[in-house]
Assembly symmetry: C3
Homo-oligomer: 279 residues x 3
């Protein structure tokens, strides 16, 4: 394409969503892994939202019903946690709160694969955020995982085809992170041209991107396609800025600089992202 079409002009102006996030300070309930609990709580705060990490069967429904969005992250899954996630997801559904699924390690172990499928069949998921392999495997179009990282890059067309199919089949928005991020929904695909290779040198950047999606979707539960794109765009832009400053020294500095950059994002920054919209 020669340049962004008229759809882009609207879809890519996400500043008002960050403004809403900062004003409303949504409460984002995470059921997540011990690996990323701390850093995703910090991403939530840096964006301007409020995190609550709660996982006990005895309280998750109570928490999910009071929170503004629920993240289900399969990072260090157990069968008991899978049951609790379904219960929390249904409580969030009943309260009209968006549920964001991060199918960490889908396709690598039976437990993770079965649990993601079960959540998708028993909970209404607003957004699925995964890497290329996870999304392609969920869509049934191929892909290969090794541990929790994608093994190699897929062709752009294959990624978009998988995301479209997954969105169609599940009714959820499919948000795929990679060198270019893509968000597929009924209105088409938003491509986000931001990010930096250092993001792959730090653990949990995928999970942090999911948190950003959840914080934005909490403020626009009726527009998960734009909200997911705003979340991924904000996160990728922050990553780019972090790597361009003192965070470029390596993954330790980068991680600190990434939180700083998220904290310093201004609504105006999200009105001029390098984004494409294709139907």
């Amino acid at each position: 394409m020669d340049g962004p079409g008229p759809a882009l002009a609207n879809a890519a102006r996400f500043g008002h969503l960050l403004d809403a996030l900062r004003r409303r300070r949504p409460l984002v309930h995470h059921m997540t892994s011990m690996v990323v609990a701390h850093v995703t709580a910090n991403v939530t705060l840096a964006l301007g939202a409020s995190p609550i990490m709660a996982a006990a069967a005895e309280e998750v429904e109570e928490v999910a019903a009071q929170a503004d969005a629920l993240v289900l992250n399969l990072g260090t899954l157990t069968p008991a946690a899978a049951d609790t996630m379904v219960a929390a997801g249904r409580a969030a559904n009943a309260a009209g709160r968006p549920v964001i699924l991060d199918p960490v390690g889908y396709g690598f172990t039976g437990l993770r694969t079965r649990t993601a499928q079960r959540i998708l069949s028993q909970v209404q998921v607003a957004v699925i955020r995964g890497n290329q392999a996870e999304i392609a495997l969920l869509a049934g179009t191929g892909g290969r995982v090794r541990g929790v990282d994608a093994a190699g890059s897929l062709e752009d067309a294959a990624v978009e085809d998988a995301a479209r199919r997954l969105a169609e089949r599940t009714g959820a928005v499919a948000a795929v992170t990679g060198p270019v991020d893509r968000v597929a929904g009924p209105q088409g695909i938003i491509r986000i041209h931001h990010g930096h290779p250092l993001m792959a040198a730090v653990t949990g950047t995928g999970c942090m991107a999911t948190t950003a999606v959840a914080a934005f979707t909490a403020c626009a539960p009726d527009r998960p396609w734009e909200a997911a794109a705003a979340g991924l765009g904000a996160f990728a832009l922050a990553g780019e800025r972090a790597a361009g400053g003192p965070g470029g020294a390596g993954p330790g500095s980068f991680q600190a600089a990434l939180l700083d950059a998220l904290y310093r994002l201004e609504p105006g920054d999200l009105d001029s992202l390098r984004v494409e919209v294709v139907s």
Copy 2:
């Protein structure tokens, strides 16, 4: 008041406590959440104490009896953990070690509220460290929580009234963090005028303050009022210094600078805190 009265002169000179901490290197047993386990272990080390995180029912009594203080943090509570916390608390009591309670999310879910009350009825707690809402709700004087953060600030008088009542009712020192920190005990209230707004942009600063209280109380178990104030004062001063240096760039840099500042505190720094004592 025109200036600190004679009570202040004594109560505010906490340098000897930091000196004792560094010399004795107390072992601080934490039963805490997966969100803050890593960072509170680092706060413990940065202050000069030694952390041990142990949570299995099969070993907590053994650990609590050998450690110099026990932190019970309800951050990611389960019913099984509640039982184990009570057992550990009783073992610490039997061994004469101070128990510090951090009632994270008190009033937000039934599980957390019931567990905090149960701990207070079955364990002799030396210090309760909470935010304004948690302390006010525990005292039964009002307050409102949203997730694990206080929802808005209470009036100063209301905070102090709540802290006094809670201290009276439980026999524990009540340590409340906020824009001004306050420590209530039988001798009155110590107000600490240090800190920085960036502390609220990082997850777990409340839990880290609790750890600081525990490390100091481990060295002065018979003076929990001063020890808790020393812990909060040390932590708030370190936060202030961190924000005034490279940590001012944002929450990621702040978190690293906070540990640096704790590590670099000198006993003399704690002899000149901006502190008020009111009876």
Copy 3:
């Protein structure tokens, strides 16, 4: 000794192992504590390997069989986790993958002591990485722990004697960290003269060293003696460089700089470590 003998010339040139690590990007399965899960995943990535943290009984055997090495870290142990660790260890053995044991807190509680012994009797362990007290207690030659930290330094000769005995008795390589790191195997002892005192001011540096050992051993499972020394050497050199730069400001800055330094290690750096080999 006047200088490194001929054995040193070969044993100390570890650059090819780092080169292999970066090319093969081994998958390192960690069963570890909530305290260090995040930071050890980051160490794995910074070195160039890929981490997977999985602990559910229902998937650990599947994961262990697909990964290139398995870390068993007793940091926040439970009896159920002990059972699962044994199962995962046996699956790794069956698949021919090296198992690295980190006996955190050995000798401090019965649960940890019994579990380490059980793992050593039921799993073939390639490398045991511990502090001086843990190794000496495991070897049955003395030592004293306080929490998870060694209580004081042992004499050099006592450390080496303990490491030799433990290696002989178990058939595993015994890797001891301290002011000087030592790796004992059938071929003798490799001493590594790198590191910095700030490494003891940050939680989990022992666990991170274990991760480095595992990442290198994953690439040379038939040479665990050299691989363990390469891992400890790489980690200690990175610590030294981190402390010599902006990481010298304190433990918070150090932690970030340590990951940066690991990420920036070049194979050539590992060909000129200050290392001694004694038979």
